[in-house]
Symmetry: C2
Subunit: 418 residues, 2 copies
């Protein structure tokens, strides 16, 4: 069978399975998740043996230690997958909820009922645990899922897929509700992206080039973020202690993630006193600063920030710093360079806090809080399958609810249209 | 300037205007809509003169009378555009609404705030009044819009665009918030569909081939329906009077629209008594029946339904009829052939009504009501910009709310992530 045929058949089977999954109760879906967790525990040794094949291949190919670390299904990673499933079991099932009801003058009762999206296509290049995390969330929301992980994790992902399929069978459910693309061929992704009759939504996770390739080739709507160029703006009159604390957290706590701060904007009224302090703190933490002219006049050891710096997602201990004349200047800078991911204002001014919240066009807009909180778990969604800076039904972290939509339910007594 | 450059510049200007529009109050947006209505009234003669150019060209090209009728900006059509705008003025502004608030254990207060989508691209081939209707809804929801109407309506649409631009200028707002693509070139559409950095959502309205071409070429998410193959299922024990009344309304009241019934499914327990009656009624109304074998055994004058009939959107006084052994058979038929648009069950059975509502995967699922009610106005959304059978934030009619999304607002007191 050609790659195209295999992918097409997977999509058709997923669509069929999705109809079954959409009808399950929360209890039935929780049982699937618990069974996957049990099977993971039972099959840990086999999973790690399969994982070893990927690791051997990765070492032969000369992948970096960091890559190999991410690829490893350690006991700890398996335990965290099991914990993740048990966390999702505890979340409320969004499916079947009535999100609104009203009655028309002719007596028709109209409701919106929450339903699964249907079939989700997940394309990722990161750790194999995404296979379990994403499948758990999608199945709990009543969807079917097709997973395409990184080619370096193929053995691990196929072993994980077999565990999920077994769990589905044990529960008497269609095993095709969760499938992993079984080959490394690059063209498989492009065929997947053409199955718009069977797949409702594509969620890519990975580097910007992967995501751009997905958007370029997909006939199916894509929810994604390319990158996170997150800003913190220290407003006139802000508490310097709070600002320092938040800036350190936003930049240093985990610099390699999309909700880390990449650019610091400082109001000129605070720059003279705030910048030397925060520069010293950043220096101790090993952060390289790249500043505008005004910044460098105050902090001479900062490097020169060039135009590319304002749009850069460093994912590293590097920070661009700009002194601005007003919140309007800060918001102009943000609207020019931001990736619509996360921006925070540190302020004590009621009016400006309100304006910043209203006017900044990002998936999470914060007042006096670290950008690092833009995360499904931290925002209280329970878990997330990714973060969207696309503006559709999800803008920001996507939890269970973002894996559903609503249909209209119309209850009548024989009404006809006049 | 090349067509590509023109389209790109339109998209960039729309993006810029959208930032401005997103910040307007309901009062400011209502003033724009009222001003468009005033300008339509003032400029009616000019609009009709421009429309005449399109009509002359259409006659030269030999377009059908029906097409020419749809193209005509009669006094009545202009009055209905003005009325439509005034209806939208009366609708609540969705923007700024807080759709949920909760507090995290660390004291962070999280909210979801409704915001405009940004820039909507509307591609349509129908009447020029869509230009005003769509612009009114998009602007009221705080969006910018780029409109690409049918090439046969270019003069009319450009004149309407000038009216909107004037109204925006009178209100001190960016005129690029609503723009009409100013040329007939087909490639303009394809360039528009590539502006994913500036356009958030594409809504195509028109024939299936237009919509398929849009989906094929778009890098931007598309909300659409290809067609409406709507079913009515007459269940065992249903009231025959109610069933007849609803079936007639669903088929005959306006057969050329997407929410008209195309297939009638009848439970075999009712077929013998119900089908002869409804066949006689349909005959009087000029409806051609195409039936399965069991149908033709009861109604011999029905034509033979072939496989294509079950998937056909006739948009005409033709109806396919099938006798089914159970509701499960009916639901199987629906899940095989339906376009996920609208399905209705006529029943008096509580359990089956509940199952039908839950299990049928269509944008509107109805009990004892005509499929013709799947319409934004009829469902109480106030107005609609189209009907989606894509499953994203909108599944079904798209009103003002479906032209928005939400962002997360995070209010803290200095919280950092542990």
């Amino acid at each position: 069978m050609s790659v195209e045929t295999i992918i097409k058949e997977m999509a058709v089977k997923a669509r069929k399975a999705s109809i079954h999954m959409a009808r399950l109760t929360a209890g039935e879906k929780n049982r699937v998740l618990s069974t996957i967790a049990e099977q993971l525990e039972k099959n840990a040794a086999h999973l790690q043996a399969e994982n070893l094949k990927d690791l051997d291949r990765a070492r032969d190919m000369g992948l970096s230690d960091a890559m190999i670390d991410r690829l490893t299904l350690s006991d700890k990673v398996i335990a965290s997958m099991i914990q993740g499933l048990s966390d999702v079991v505890k979340l409320d099932d969004p499916v079947g909820a009535i999100t609104g009801t009203w009655t028309r003058p002719n007596g028709l009762q109209i409701s919106r009922m929450r339903i699964p999206l249907g079939v989700i296509g997940m394309i990722y290049e990161s750790r194999p645990n995404v296979t379990i995390d994403a499948a758990g969330l999608c199945l709990k929301a009543g969807n079917a899922i097709i997973l395409r992980g990184g080619s370096e994790a193929l053995h691990s992902n196929q072993a994980l897929a077999a565990v999920i399929a077994d769990a589905l069978k044990i529960c008497g459910l269609p095993e095709y509700a969760a499938q992993v693309v079984p080959m490394r061929d690059r063209e498989a992704v492009n065929f997947l992206l053409k199955q718009d009759e069977c797949i409702d939504l594509i969620i890519p996770r990975g580097g910007e080039s992967l995501i751009r390739a997905v958007v370029e080739n997909s006939k199916i709507p894509v929810l994604k973020h390319y990158k996170g160029v997150c800003h913190v703006f220290v407003d006139q009159g802000a508490s310097h202690d709070m600002a320092e604390n938040i800036c350190m957290n936003a930049k240093v706590q985990r610099p390699g993630v999309c909700n880390a701060m990449e650019t610091l904007l400082v109001h000129e009224a605070e720059a003279q006193s705030f910048l030397p302090k925060i520069a010293a703190t950043f220096k101790k933490a090993g952060v390289e600063l790249r500043g505008c002219e005004k910044t460098r006049a105050i902090v001479p050891e900062a490097h020169v920030a060039v135009d590319e710096d304002w749009a850069a997602e460093y994912l590293d201990l590097i920070l661009s710093v700009k002194v601005v004349a007003s919140m309007d200047d800060a918001m102009d800078h943000i609207s020019t360079y931001s990736s619509n991911h996360t921006e925070s204002i540190i302020t004590n001014d009621y009016g400006r806090a309100r304006r910043f919240v209203r006017e900044v066009d990002s998936s999470a807009v914060m007042v006096n809080a670290s950008t690092r909180f833009n995360d499904g778990g931290e925002l209280g969604l329970g878990a997330e399958i990714g973060i969207s800076t696309s503006k559709l039904h999800a803008f920001g972290p996507m939890g269970l609810e973002e894996l559903t939509t609503t249909k209209f339910v119309v209850l009548g007594d024989g009404q006809v249209r006049a």
